[in-house]
Symmetry: C2
Subunit: 242 residues, 2 copies
DNA sequence: ATAAATAGTGTCATTATGACAATTAACGCT
DNA sequence: AGCGTTAATTGTCATAATGACACTATTTAT
């Protein structure tokens, strides 16, 4: 039998296949808090529970699983090009009452200022991490959320990832606040600035942020910006794993 | 409708689900070369091509995707408890001619000396990384192999992962050779030993390796061994990404 | 005994971060 | 204009970890 003949006679439905979904932890910062987008499930199972946005791969419209993730993100936030990273895939017989299921977990980092909109309604909320982890989330989404947060925290110790949560321009103090917010502990101002400057990831815009005190220089991503730039040393904080 | 009623009437087969497989890059070292296990495909598609070992999740026997990975590893190597890590999931419409498919990519690190057997036959070979990447591997397995190798190399710069490729006891020089083999560049003996010693991951067995020259102290994993121990600094090598 | 080879150590330089003080620039107030 | 307050920015030294490289130690072969 040739491969062409084999494929002609192949029926993918004869084997049991797991349910396959993409779930996303979409992070943003608002009012000095790290928040995650939650959707209230409109249908069974887990109807009425808060959940991470997600859904099935649409085989006829999504070319890749990343496309599915981008589509989900766009449907919920209107955002096209966020920082998007695959965290891990979790699959087992018990996580979804409909049957053996696998989810591809992503996280996205977005920023309200460049986007403008942050939908909030009866069925959509931006919950702070602590709030979200206190909820009874749908399925195993609490586990998923923990994995996403832990990944974000871990990478914040040795990469420049949190820059992707910032608006187009920002001050170094604002950026440091973002790092501290994610890590949950304060950083040394001087060390932080040295790191950032040595990385060459940012450049001054020339403008200043007008505040009630001494104005701060505004920075933006430079030509050679890469969000997961790896610093030569780890930031010395003890992470609380959630 | 209650959730129970919903589930009763739910048919997972009405939606098109992607094919879902687990593929593994199983690494081991032999004769000073980093090798990966390849299987010659017995069936269509890609019949006759070399491929990474893998296969479908067996929903009735595997409780989790990690169980599938462990099962595949055991089937091919007889090994039960290797270092096993999920690398990434790759899914798209074109990687498998049978249709939209997702693979969950893992890599495993094993060591021949503790295991004993390294199957090699007409249908099974341990190929050096360079050989394997020169082959026309089945499906997108060349891409998968690259991803697995790059992950291994990257983590070797800041973790103790390669210890999992070593036999139960080994000398520090042998361990350094392993690191150098993976990284593709030489390391400073002193720096390397300092790092390892400071980590507390290893302890001396008290025995010595008898060689034709000065004997070397044998080490083994200590109580507090953890394969992905993170060192405070990056090894300073420029990685060639494959 | 001596050379060769590999194991293991000593030492200083370099790089990066931690700690913390000092300086600078703006604002509001008197 | 001068002063206090606040936040931005820089200076300086200590500490930690790696890089470079030389030196010592131990074994075998000759």
């Amino acid at each position: 039998m040739t491969e062409a003949e084999f494929l002609k006679s192949y029926n993918p439905k004869v084997f049991d296949a797991p349910l396959c979904t993409v779930d996303m932890a979409i992070f943003a910062v608002e009012e000095g808090e790290l928040k995650v987008l939650l959707i209230k499930r409109a249908e069974h199972p887990s109807k009425g529970r808060w959940a991470l946005p997600g859904g099935f791969c649409d085989l006829s419209n999504d070319a890749t699983i990343d496309a599915t993730a981008h589509r989900k993100l766009f449907e919920k936030t209107g955002i096209n090009s966020p920082y998007l990273e695959q965290v891990e895939s979790i699959g087992n017989a018990v996580r979804d009452p409909r049957g053996w299921s696998i989810t591809l977990l992503y996280f996205a980092l977005i920023d309200f200022e460049t986007i403008g909109a942050h939908p909030q309604s009866e069925h959509t909320q931006w919950a702070s991490i602590n709030e979200a982890l206190k909820c009874e989330l749908a399925f195993d989404h609490k586990v998923l959320l923990r994995k996403a947060i832990n990944r974000l925290r871990k990478k914040t110790r040795y990469t420049a990832l949190p820059i992707s949560l910032m608006p187009r321009t920002f001050t170094l103090t604002e950026l440091q606040n973002m790092f501290e917010l994610i890590l949950g502990s304060p950083l040394q101002k001087k060390s932080f600035r040295r790191r950032i400057e040595a990385s060459g990831l940012l450049e001054e815009t020339g403008d200043m942020r007008a505040t009630s005190r001494r104005p701060a220089a505004l920075f933006k991503r430079s030509k050679n910006f890469e969000e997961d730039h790896i610093f030569p040393g780890l930031l010395d904080v003890k992470l609380e794993q959630v």
